[in-house]
């Protein structure tokens, strides 16, 4: 756990870079320090491992004041990854990853084993990469090795300063996904600096938004989007914050459970009548085991005189899997030009139904400034 208490950084020339920041990062949590350049986010991060001396206030690492620790020992207990990566070009991938283990006097075997494990974790084949030099790697691979190096001695805490900043958007997106998966496994306490609101929303369990050295809002991403504290936050998260919040919510949070279904061999006339009496024009078709088959709508059904549901069914409905974000689901709806999207699990078993109407309602709610429902995360 990291706790900052009224931390200030005032430079000799009087510049106040950080003006009394207080917040806490719980164990296993990824906290994003977000803000425009010059807001003090990197300075704040660097005071945690004392790369920048604290002028006033205290930072506690698991209850110990970091001023009472030897600065080099302190830093060896925290992984450190930066945008420029800073891999050592005269060292192999393994030597780079083993930097901290070597400083901590691990044996050669332990270091190598750890390097292999980390490369594996980063999705890089240890046998292929362990003896390579940084110049032989692509940008994305270097970035991965940089992260692997920061995990070298398995530190409980990691400090990451725009670690995915220097790569193309597609690779960045992939690395973010990979890292989130890794984090689920390793559960480090992470302080992550970025100026990119989308990255902050995607990566953070909590986001600390800073401006001119002050902490403006400290909240989970969804809350930041739904209830910006003031004009600055609102402007910073952007006018498309509703769309952004759709990225944060999962289909299962917005879908209707147990929607009405029919089967392929049901009698079409019966189904038409049901639609008529219930004033619905859309029904999901499932097969044995509640597996999604397709859908049938009133218009199509009207053109078919008799027979079974299968005769009027549209097979390609599009669907969203549990866990998909609402933004992705919305994209599918727009692509397929449908207003209803069945939600299924991995085995294609029907779990619920997401309607465009529900999405609209949700968007309306997030737009309500006060008193609106905040989606829980």
């Amino acid at each position: 756990m990291i706790k900052l208490q009224d931390v200030k950084k005032i430079y000799p020339d009087g510049t106040k870079a950080v003006k009394g920041v207080t917040f806490e990062v719980k164990e296993g949590e990824l906290c994003v320090l977000l803000g425009p350049s010059g807001c003090g986010k990197t300075t704040t991060m660097k005071m945690i491992n004392r790369l920048i001396p604290i002028t006033e206030g205290d930072i506690y690492i698991d209850g110990t004041n970091n001023k009472e620790m030897d600065e080099n020992e302190l830093r060896r207990e925290m992984g450190y990854a930066i945008q420029e990566i800073g891999l050592f070009p005269h060292m192999t991938v393994e030597e780079n990853i083993s930097t901290v283990p070597k400083l901590k006097k691990w044996s050669a075997e332990e270091s190598e084993e750890r390097s292999r494990k980390l490369l594996d974790l980063m999705g890089m084949d240890p046998d292929e990469f362990i003896d390579k030099y940084p110049t032989e790697l692509s940008g994305g691979q270097r970035q991965r090795v940089g992260v692997a190096r920061s995990l070298g001695a398995d530190p409980p805490i990691m400090l990451m300063d725009e670690p995915f900043g220097a790569i193309d958007p597609i690779t960045r997106d992939r690395l973010q996904d990979e890292f989130l998966k890794i984090q689920e496994e390793i559960k480090k306490t992470i302080v992550f600096v970025t100026h990119d609101i989308n990255e902050a929303i995607k990566m953070g369990d909590k986001v600390a938004l800073l401006k001119d050295g002050e902490l403006i809002q400290y909240a989970p991403p969804a809350e930041l989007l739904a209830a910006p504290k003031n004009r600055f936050v609102r402007d910073f998260v952007g006018s498309d914050r509703t769309l952004k919040s759709l990225r944060l919510m999962r289909v299962e949070e917005a879908m209707k459970q147990s929607p009405r279904v029919v089967r392929e061999d049901d009698d079409l006339e019966d189904v038409k009548r049901t639609m008529e009496t219930n004033e619905i024009n859309y029904l999901i078709v499932v097969e044995t085991g509640n597996r999604l088959k397709g859908w049938i709508n009133k218009e199509d059904a009207e053109g078919v005189d008799s027979g079974r549901v299968a005769d009027a069914m549209v097979a390609d409905t599009g669907s969203a899997q549990i866990g998909t974000s609402l933004a992705e689901a919305l994209t599918v709806m727009l692509e397929k030009d449908v207003a209803n999207l069945p939600v299924v699990d991995e085995a294609n078993k029907l779990q619920g139904l997401l309607t465009f109407h529900d999405l609209q309602k949700l968007i309306g709610e997030t737009y309500t400034e006060r008193g609106g429902r905040h989606p829980e995360v």
Binding site: I82, P89, T99, V100, L159
Partner: protein, 219 residues
């Protein structure tokens, strides 16, 4: 033909001059590397920009003093210090001074130009300033320092011939004597051997430069 005859008849003498010459170069440049690299590391330190400017400026001036004049200037200085003012010692001192600029400047530049991101990463991972110097800065600076040394050695092999004027031995001897006695064969012999020595040293040091360049920097 005359030159060949001279060389043929004086193998042993020429050999001993060559060895003397090499010894002078070896001693002076070893010390020059030690002093130049240490001083280069020192002035490349944080907050020493002004010291660095002064030191590099002085080393630059040193290069502009004609060698003959420098030897002449050293004599009263060494006499005052009660040290031998002619022979090996003043020659070594002068060559050390001449070797300083390339070695010092290259060391300084190489260390200053190590990517700040690497140093930042090193510090952030808990490396001490000493570890950063020996594990990051110096290994990365080695090829450039070696290039400076190569430069210094080649310059000094030439300059060392002039040291004969203050009584040092070496390949300057046949040149000096040849000049006094109008023996063209001796002058040319001396000149050829100095050139061969310089070329050989240059080649060998180029090889050493490659050898000392960390593997990862070659790719």
């Amino acid at each position: 033909m005359e030159v060949w005859n001279y060389v043929n008849g004086h193998w042993i003498t020429i050999g001993s001059w060559t060895l003397d010459h090499l010894w002078l170069i070896f001693v002076s440049n070893s010390l020059a590397v030690f002093i130049g690299v240490s001083l280069g590391i020192f002035i490349a330190g944080k907050g020493r920009e002004e010291v660095a400017d002064t030191v590099l400026y002085l080393a630059g001036i040193m290069m502009t003093i004609p060698s003959l004049a420098l030897f002449g200037l050293l004599m009263p200085l060494l006499t005052a210090l009660n040290l031998p003012s002619i022979g090996f010692l003043p020659a070594v001192i002068a060559l050390i001074l001449y070797g300083q600029l390339p070695i010092l400047r290259n060391t300084y530049t190489a260390i200053r130009e190590v990517d700040p991101a690497m140093i930042e990463a090193g510090r952030g991972m808990g490396m001490t300033p000493r570890q950063i110097l020996f594990k990051i800065k110096l290994p990365l600076a080695v090829p450039i320092i070696m290039a400076g040394l190569r430069n210094a050695v080649v310059i000094n092999i030439g300059i060392a011939t002039i040291a004969v004027f203050i009584g040092a031995r070496g390949l300057g001897v046949p040149i000096f004597r040849g000049l006094r006695t109008s023996r063209m064969d001796m002058i040319i012999t001396g000149a050829i051997f100095v050139s061969i020595l310089a070329l050989l040293a240059d080649g060998l040091l180029a090889l050493a430069e490659k050898l000392f360049t960390p593997e990862g920097l070659k790719k």
